[in-house]
Amino acid sequence: MSRVVFDHVTKRFGDVVAVDDLCLEVHDKEFLVLLGPSGCGKSTALRLVAGLDQPAKGNIIIGDRIVNDVEAKNRNVAMVFQSYALFPHMSVYDNIAFGLRMRHVSRRERDQKVHDAALMLGLQDLLRRRPGELSGGQRQRVALGRAIVRSPSVFLMDEPLSNLDAKLRVQTRRELIKLHRQLETTVIFVTHDQVEAMTMGARVAIINDGALQQVGDPQDVYQHPANLFVASFIGSPAMNFFPSELQLQDGQLVALCAGARFPLGEEQARALAGLKGERAIIGVRPEHILLDWEGKEDSQAGLDVVVDTVESMGHEQHVTFSADDTTVVARLDAERSLREGERLRLRIDPAHMHFFDPETGQRME
Amino acid sequence: MERYRRWAGYALRYAVLLLLGGIVVFPIYMTVVNSLLPSTTIIAWPPELFPFDPQWDNFKKALDEVPLARYMLNSLVMSAVIVIGQLVTSALAAYAFAYLRFPGRTLLFVLFLSTLMVPWEVSVVPNFQTIQRLGWLDSYQALTVPFLATALGTFLLRQHFLTIPQELRDAAAIDGYGHIRFLVFVVLPLSRAVLAALAVFGFLQAWNQYLWPLLVTNEDSMRTVQIGLASLRGRDVDTFNITMAATVISALPMLIMLVLFQRQLVRGLTAGALKG
């Protein structure tokens, strides 16, 4: 059993709280991604599991035991660093074999394991070379090899793909997913790139300012962001936000914002029924912003905007609109090309409005 | 239990650091102590470890009996001139080796480096004769001119210049910069760390010189701190406190600079100036 549990873990550096009362369980054999902006504490959390730092409060649990006081080398974890941290003066073989040597594994067994790992990663021909002679991608695989060869209970990866160029990154992503399926070991993967997180993780844990914002599978996090931060962090282009007020009009709950009146979808109207007169921040993803071509709909349920910039993506276009003091970004199909300065009217898909409390930023249900 | 072990570990580490630091600093400490002792106590046995009756007068006496101010001025002028001279000559030479293409460049560079193979002490006799013939004995020229060029400085600066991106050179050329302007306004400002490290070590080396100033200066007015202090070695034991006071005064500027610039010193070295 190699699950990892953060049990009310807090870590401070001087006055700065790097990890704030983190409660998170990584299931056995799961591929969990820790996602968040730079400096949010995700790398610190990873290092706490590795044993490179000690928590100020709370417990780190690996499997069944509390490992707070267990040294890094005795935790049976392997870590792949962002810059790979390969020993530049050792050959690829020696780099991979290092951990086994430290654990006094017999030479024959060592040799066997190193060759197995090298084969798995396509490094068989590079064993005599030094890291300085390898490309970035090859170095990364050596770092992986070093991690795999010890058959650890947990793999810790700290932004291992960020030093690779775009194409290699995509390729390596797929290889890592395959590798995980092959090895069946728990993986905690840290990244600031949401695309990586969404494509790789069975579950994604989003962290900001040391605190866990939300954890769930990628679809869930995308469709039901738990607060403003998650809503704005996940999804590209980012979600649009409109400060609004909920009012009752003609017996229907509507949201007044940006000079327009948007009716709520049925489900939401029911859920937020008791909040008439309250203020809320409405979040709408760019793909749920619709063009109101003929103005057929209720004239007040639309937003009058002017086209600001158009970015053509080929299969779709990302259009930035401006209205008074707001900007709206929409993803529209590329059928009709829009020009700068054009005046249009926008609608919001009522089934896809997210409501957030303006004070706490939390999702309003 | 773990907490306790951790604190004990810390205590041990600090104890070792303190002990070793104490041993290293000990001669300096004793010198300061001795400089403040009265002449009766300085020859006492067992030796006094703390100046309970500090004789601040000793410093005044030291300055009166020994022309320390003059010595220090000479050392300062000599070291400053040498450092500035070295920075100028090595920056110019390094620029030529890094940016100019001319026939015999490799040969001349090797020639420069070969000077590193010749220890100063080997050339000391003929150099003395040269200075003598030029009539430069007992002058600032004698103390400074032979040291105005440095192959090590040229080498290090050239290495650093080579790391400056080609785009800067191209941009400067488009903006109409000639070589001198490029050197002065672009290259040198980017080489501040290396220049600073060279300046510091050059100054230290110049300040520390012993054999050469011994040879080329005879007049008290031209002697440097090293030679001036050395002449105090033969004094009687009971005036040791004055000797120590003179030593403290001479060491003071450097010690203060060290305390203030310790971190820059280490950083200047890690700025690639001394890799391999």
Partner: protein, 315 residues
């Protein structure tokens, strides 16, 4: 090539003009221009490094009269007689011992202190200043400081000896202890600089390498042997080569502490050269020794480069 440089050349008239000259003249023109940058250094080097080297060899071929004037030409005879003389071999031995007493201990101590000062403890800068403090003392200052400590009647070293029941030692006048005493002073004098250089080398080692080793299961000793030492090898090599060269050039502390005595026990080669040249005015003999020193340093450096550099790892 020309298209890119065209604009540049419009603004650098000298270079543009040079480009229009025929090939060979262009080369000379470029050399001439470069020489402007090189002349200051070249003049100094020629006058004070190259010329004296040849002059020293030349002086060795001539006897010198008691007044310091050049005497008869004796060719290689003087070289032979001086380099095989008892006194030269003695000073060679003293110099060798001196280097042995100062360079390896200097490196080991510098390494030990640097390792200790590389820890992330609060207030570690204080200790770094303490360890590097000898950098602020110069040859004369350090020698005078130790002169007091080594003083037979009032020095602290003898006080410690007496406290543990041993007889006092007149360190600097004792045939067995003079050289070690001078060596100790030298090690102390150079400790600050060695410490700073090695510490800089240590700090250049990426933290991640240590962490990676720890996670892989390396204990402190293994980390030192497999990570620290290899990564530090260029620095240690540098300190070793430079340290040896400097050891062979030592003069100041010997001149102040022992004047080469007692009975030439601390007469290193440079001191012998100084004595012959500036006390006995025998420039011929002195020059031969100087050339000998030159060849010795050259040889030693070559040996170190050959044997030690193999174990150095460069990135």
């Amino acid at each position: 090539m020309d298209a890119a440089n065209a604009t540049a050349d419009q603004r650098l008239p000298l270079m543009a003009a040079a480009r229009r000259l025929p090939q060979r003249l262009r080369g000379i023109n470029r050399l001439g221009f470069a020489l402007i940058f090189l002349v200051p250094s070249l003049v100094i080097f020629s006058a004070f490094v190259f010329y004296p080297l040849f002059k020293a060899v030349y002086l060795g071929f001539y006897e010198t009269d008691p007044f310091g004037n050049q005497g008869d030409f004796v060719g290689l005879d003087q070289y032979r007689s001086v380099l095989t003389s008892e006194s030269f071999r003695h000073s060679l031995w003293v110099t060798f011992l001196f280097a042995l007493y100062t360079v390896p201990p200097g490196i080991l101590l510098g390494l030990a202190l640097a390792l200790l000062a590389n820890q992330k403890l609060p207030g570690i800068s204080v200790f770094r200043v303490m360890f590097s403090s000898t950098v602020a003392t110069s040859v004369a200052v350090a020698s005078l400081m130790w002169l007091t400590l080594l003083n037979p009647s009032v020095g602290l070293l003898n006080y410690f000896l007496v406290e543990i029941g041993q007889p006092r030692i007149d360190w600097l006048n004792n045939l067995d202890w003079a050289l070690p005493a001078v060596s100790a002073t030298t090690v102390w004098l150079n400790l600050g600089l060695a410490f700073i250089v090695i510490l800089a080398g240590l700090q250049a080692i990426p933290e991640e390498l240590y962490e990676s080793a720890r996670v892989e299961g390396a204990g402190s000793l293994s980390v030192f042997w497999h990570v620290t030492l290899p990564m530090l090898s260029p620095t240690l090599f540098f300190v070793s080569v430079v340290g040896t060269i400097l050891a062979f050039q030592s003069f100041g502390q010997i001149h102040i502490l022992t004047r080469g005595g007692p009975l030439d026990a601390t007469t290193v080669i440079v001191y012998s050269i100084w004595q012959d040249a500036f006390q006995r005015f025998d420039y011929g003999v002195a020059s031969v020794q100087a050339v000998g020193l030159f060849l010795l340093v050259l040889g030693l450096t070559a040996v170190q480069l050959r044997f030690l550099e193999r174990r150095v790892f460069y990135q």
